[in-house]
């Protein structure tokens, strides 16, 4: 599905150079549910952003579905993100000016063949999937953290992407809410979505199929988990 080869990411500021990722080789296969763990600052978000084509590596190649994307233009990358990827962030990143429904519709706005009615219907379905169909007219400020994250999940899945990338999706939630979010993700995975999730929670990571460990920008572990 997604293959990273010899990825390196260097952050340069005027005073120091940070090697955030060092020689990462990684293949995420179709239908996988992988989690990434590691101490704070080890490069988890950086890695996820590179997998999600939100950030470009300093060195190395990425291919999506066997297609190298390193030389893609802004427009081509945007199309790829729009059609094949969905993102979930720790701090939700909803647009406060827009209603829940409008927030969920965002990915569909950048697809040409979808009409307004279709868009509304798809958003409505995605919200049903996360159990929020009664909150469509609310604004983000009127929702709890768990509800916000469920809106964010609805937005990530509304375009039916093959890959969902989640950066600490439960990091701002209590354990009950966190488990609920995780079970939604598990359900999506069962339905065929490939999921990569960054987490600090060992127990959550244990519930995924594969655990990737990072330390100081280097991959130090990659275990396939058998579910018990």
């Amino acid at each position: 599905m997604i293959t990273l080869t010899n990825i390196e990411k260097v952050y340069r500021t005027s005073t120091i150079e940070t090697l955030a990722l060092n020689n990462i080789n990684l293949h995420i296969g179709q239908g996988e549910f992988a989690s990434i763990m590691g101490p704070s600052g080890c490069g988890k978000s950086t890695l996820l952003n590179i997998i999600g084509l939100l950030d470009a590596p300093s060195k190395g190649g990425i291919s999506v579905g066997g297609q190298p994307v390193t030389s893609y233009s802004d427009q081509e990358l945007a199309r790829l993100r729009n059609q094949r990827l969905g993102f979930i962030f720790q701090s939700f990143h909803l647009i406060n000016d827009l209603s829940v429904l409008d927030n969920v519709e965002i990915p569909l706005l950048y697809r040409k063949q979808i009409s307004g009615t279709q868009r509304r219907q798809m958003a409505q379905e995605a919200l049903e999937r996360v159990g929020l169909s009664n909150r469509v007219k609310h604004f983000p400020k009127q929702l709890s953290g768990g509800q916000k994250q469920r809106v964010a999940i609805a937005r990530a899945i509304v375009g039916r992407p093959e890959i969902i990338l989640a950066d600490e999706p439960t990091g701002n939630l209590d354990s009950v809410m966190g488990n609920e979010i995780l079970s939604i993700l598990q359900g999506l995975n069962t339905d065929g979505a490939t999921i990569v999730m960054v987490t600090h929670d060992e127990a959550m990571a244990k519930k995924t199929h594969r655990l990737i460990r990072l330390f100081d920008g280097t991959m130090v572990g990659d275990t396939t988990l058998t579910l018990c």
Binding site: L54, A78, L94, I106, Y110, G116
Partner: protein, 415 residues
Amino acid sequence: MLTNYIKIAWKVLLRHPFYTFITLFGISLTLTVLMVLTSFIDHIIGSHYPETNRDRSLYIEKMALRDSSRTSQNTGPMSFKFLTQYAKSLKTPEKVTITSFFRTSNAYAGSQKIKLNTKYTDAAFWEVMNFTFLEGKPYNDQNIRNGELVAVITDDFRRQYFSDLSEPVVGKDIEVESVHYKVIGVVKGSPPTRFFSYADIYFPYTVPKSNYEQDDIMGGYVAVILAKKASDRKAIQDEFQDKIRRIPLPGNRNGFKYAMLEVGCAPYLESVLSIFMEGGPQVKVIFYSVIAFLMLMLMGLPAINLVNVNVSRIMERSSEIGIRKAFGAPIRTLLMQFIVENIFITFIGGSIALLLTLITIYFINNSGWIAYADLTINLNVFLVSIGVCLIFGLLSGVAPALRMSKLSIVEALKS
């Protein structure tokens, strides 16, 4: 897609009432002031009732006599005799009228004193000017030759002077400064801002006190020349100046020895400006420069405000830009969205301004502040103002949007 942009723009505007208000306020106020100002200028210098032929007319309204050392001079209107000899005799024009500037006078309706302005004109005046006759007709050359005591009055004067308006007033008698005149026609009046045509009562120049036989080169008369077509005006000016050059110099007017004699013969704006300012055709350039500068200032301040508001508005939305890009919005689409937002708000501002201008003009026209005011909105001015606002809106919207859309997604999401 466009309706989508507009929908988003509309929502953004509604969610930020304060910014929206400031922006709209700036845009609509600027446009309103601009449009009212230009419609006022147009009212004063454009071709309007009854001077609808201004764009093919020339005006002779001032003579200057100077001594050889240029230390003293006589300036002012000319005598009837002078204009008859030098203006009326021109071959190129279609028509030439000689008329006095208006003079103040009084009349009495019962014991009620009416302040009024009178004008002495020839018969051609009614052909050069396009008055609408509500009753009767103008006086003709025959009336003038016979020295008949007739008058054309305005509807305003008719209302003030005659108590009974149910029957026509043509043929009735009016008394002005102890002379009785017979009303021969009633016209719709001209605004006082059009001083070549404005008066309350018009008399043939052969009535008493008109001074038309005065044996002098200067006096109380001016001439308006109507060219067959606008392009003839140059030839008329040349023909006129040629005649003026033949006047023997130096001359002597009531003891004032003059070595130079200048008479202007110019289009309306130049001619009117030269009443207030010295300096030939360049005064027009100065006039337009001043107007342009004023407008620039009027546009400039709100434009800067608009840029400021836009910049902070867009910067505040960096996280939104990050989100949209993450979910597949190409830079081009985001730029379009901001452009549409700006155009949208400009058009709302423009519509408000149009409404405000219409209201302002309506009040000016009906307040009696200027009698017979007939201000209108100049479409060209409206379009140009909208255009200028649009350019400012675009510049102020595109620059920060371009900066934002170039920002990396990760950076944008962090803020």
